[in-house]
């Protein structure tokens, strides 16, 4: 019972780490919106999360560390949507949309974790404690 809850928490924690990584990556893209020659980067979140969690689903397997996650998360380079004289491939509209999307999903993951913790705490309470 308790390890089902902690498995779910583990999964959400991995998702949260990857979300924060993606947030940092998009922040870098936005910061370099005016840098000549900069190429925008991103990673496939679904694939990264699948790879990061499948590495540790085997029972008794050690928790996938950052090294294992690094091997799975490959950065992709954005193709420019419009040609640009200074070879900068940051599309500010796309990056801002991705940033907002990632923030909302980061917060959603946080709420899932909080919900899981609350459920676990409720389950631990005895019935006469209210």
């Amino acid at each position: 019972m308790i390890n089902r809850l902690s498995d779910s928490l583990d999964f959400q924690a991995q998702a949260l780490v990857l979300r924060s990584e993606r947030q940092r990556l998009i922040a870098s893209n936005i910061a370099n919106g005016d840098t000549p020659g900069y190429v925008a980067r991103d990673f496939d979140f679904a694939r990264a999360l699948r790879d990061a969690t499948s590495a540790q689903t085997a029972p008794g397997a050690p928790v996938a560390g950052t090294a294992a996650m690094r091997a799975h998360t490959t950065l992709r380079y954005a193709t420019p949507s419009q040609t640009n004289l200074d070879n900068n491939s940051v599309d500010m509209d796309r990056e801002r949309a991705a940033f907002a999307d990632n923030s909302v999903k980061f917060e959603a993951t946080l709420r899932f974790i909080n919900g899981g913790v609350r459920t676990m705490l409720d389950a631990m309470k005895s019935h006469n404690q209210g």
Partner: protein, 140 residues
Amino acid sequence: MSMFRIFDVSGSAVSAQSQRLNVVASNLANADTVAGPDGQAYKARQVVFRTELMGAGGTLGADASAGVRVSTVTEDTTPGRRVHDPKHPGADGDGYVTYSNVNAVEEMVNMISASRSYQNNVEVMNTAKTLLLKTLQMGS
């Protein structure tokens, strides 16, 4: 927590953009400067940005957080505007006054672009701050 790096990244971008605004301000202030006794008028300046990788941390490795730095400030070498005005105290022997080579329209556009980028990065920092504060309250 690699989210803290966002403040380094966006902070460097904000500082680079403010340096760009500073250069634009000095260009605009000198838009009507005439050549001094040496015959050289003010030359417009432009900042050149470059990416600066900001240290280790996180699962994506060091190169995932890319900040911005002003690598050089270049001077525009095009000759300044020359106007025939023999009565002007700054006129040369032929009666021409050399003004600076600042293009005011270009500078205004540059200023708008810099201010938008500045706002973008401030917003990124605000969002990161909100998310981090919510992370701190996790489990409550």
